[in-house]
């Protein structure tokens, strides 16, 4: 394995990574959502969505409606939540008019007020990362395994590294 082959391998790897990044960023632009694909992490929307399902998001131009399934993040959370809008109050004035939004998971008993930061009663449009428009079952289960068992993630990366280094051709 000489220097030239090593460089070629490096360029190939770089191409794969940058292509993936370009596809992701194009999706961000096309959908208007900062995270156009998400993996369902909890069972609060069962039986519609299970852990490990993949959701496709889109930022619609029309204002939020009840019944929409949205992915939102409140200011103090790391991990966004996928729940359904159950109440909307839209102000008469303002451009665009302010929305007060309340959400609830389909299989949860109460509404989401206990999940919002202390003292916050409503979400608004700024909290919404996107509306769920597409669904793919089970594919995201790999992500769940990697989150629950970090050693699996490192083992996978190590295995991929070995494959890249030992493969003979570009």
């Amino acid at each position: 394995m000489n220097k030239r082959q090593l460089l070629l391998q490096g360029v190939n790897l770089g191409m794969i990574i940058t292509s993936a990044l370009m596809i992701w960023k194009s999706m961000v632009l096309a959908t208007g959502s900062e995270s156009p694909m998400v993996v369902v992490l909890s069972g609060s929307m069962e039986p519609g969505f299970y852990r490990g399902d993949i959701l496709f998001l889109y930022q619609p131009k029309t204002p939020a409606q009840t019944g929409d399934i949205i992915v939102f993040n409140t200011d103090d959370r790391e991990i966004p939540i996928v729940h359904r809008i159950i109440k909307v109050h839209e102000r008469a004035e303002g451009s665009p008019p302010r929305l007060d939004i309340l959400t609830k998971g389909d299989s949860n008993w109460p509404d989401d007020r206990s999940l919002y930061p202390r003292g916050q009663l409503w979400l608004n449009t700024g909290h919404i990362m996107g509306k769920v428009v597409g669904f793919l079952p089970h594919i995201g289960r790999v992500t769940n395994i990697m989150n629950d068992y970090p050693w699996f993630k490192y083992a996978l990366i190590a295995a991929l590294g070995v494959v890249v280094v030992t493969s003979k051709e570009g």
Binding site: T66, G67, S107, G134
Partner: protein
């Protein structure tokens, strides 16, 4: 090209992934051709109560809903999330829209929905962000979110406009006794009991 097990596994995985992706796209494309004829009717039975609470009004409304959504089920339909919206406008808010009832319909047999005394289920509540519910006109919109096995989600709605208005004065809620729309008379209606709070369509099976 080497014929090692690694390159075979690679080729197999790539082919399987491509085929799966194409099949998923084809499945979701079939949704476009599915025609549905939903049949719905909704009546405003009456108001069980109209309360002034701390900072806001609360209404207790009874509806009579029939929804035949069986034709919405295609082979790619996993479930319908059916919901009933109560909508009104006030001076402060151009749109107030709140779910008052919902059900998960998992199969075609359960998609014929009859709720003769439909009331708000916990935690749904008919409240204003002020005191604007007296004499308020309202619409009822029945929506069903079609959730597929694979592919695009969409929601269809049917609005029943101008069913109101709500009564023009506050009165304490009494279960089983509604004030008929547009009149002062009260009639007895079945209370429905705890079954109305439970989700009759979603089972763990």
């Amino acid at each position: 090209m080497s014929h090692s097990w690694l390159s075979r596994a690679n080729a197999l995985a790539t082919f399987a992934g491509t085929v799966l992706a194409v099949v998923c796209l084809a499945v979701t494309a079939t949704d476009y051709f599915h025609k549905s004829q939903p049949v719905l009717s909704c009546e405003f039975v009456g108001t069980e109560g109209l309360q002034k609470e701390f900072g806001h009004d609360r209404a207790h409304v009874v509806l009579n809903l029939t929804a035949d959504l069986r034709s919405e089920f295609s082979w790619n339909t996993k479930q319908l999330f059916v919901f009933v919206d109560f909508e009104f406008a006030t001076r402060k808010n151009a749109r107030n829209q709140m779910v008052m009832w919902s059900a998960n319909v998992l199969d075609k047999e359960h998609a014929l929905i009859r709720v003769p005394t439909l009331r708000a289920q916990y935690p749904y509540a008919l409240t204003d962000q002020g005191f604007g519910l007296r004499d308020r006109e309202f619409n009822i919109t029945v929506g069903w979110n079609v959730m597929p096995r694979v592919g695009a989600l969409f929601t269809r709605r049917r609005t029943f406009a101008g069913l109101g208005p709500l009564p023009d004065e506050y009165f304490q809620p009494t279960a089983g006794r509604v004030r008929r729309p547009g009149s002062d008379e009260f009639v007895e209606v079945p209370t429905g009991g705890a079954e109305e709070d439970a989700d009759p369509y979603y089972t763990d099976a």
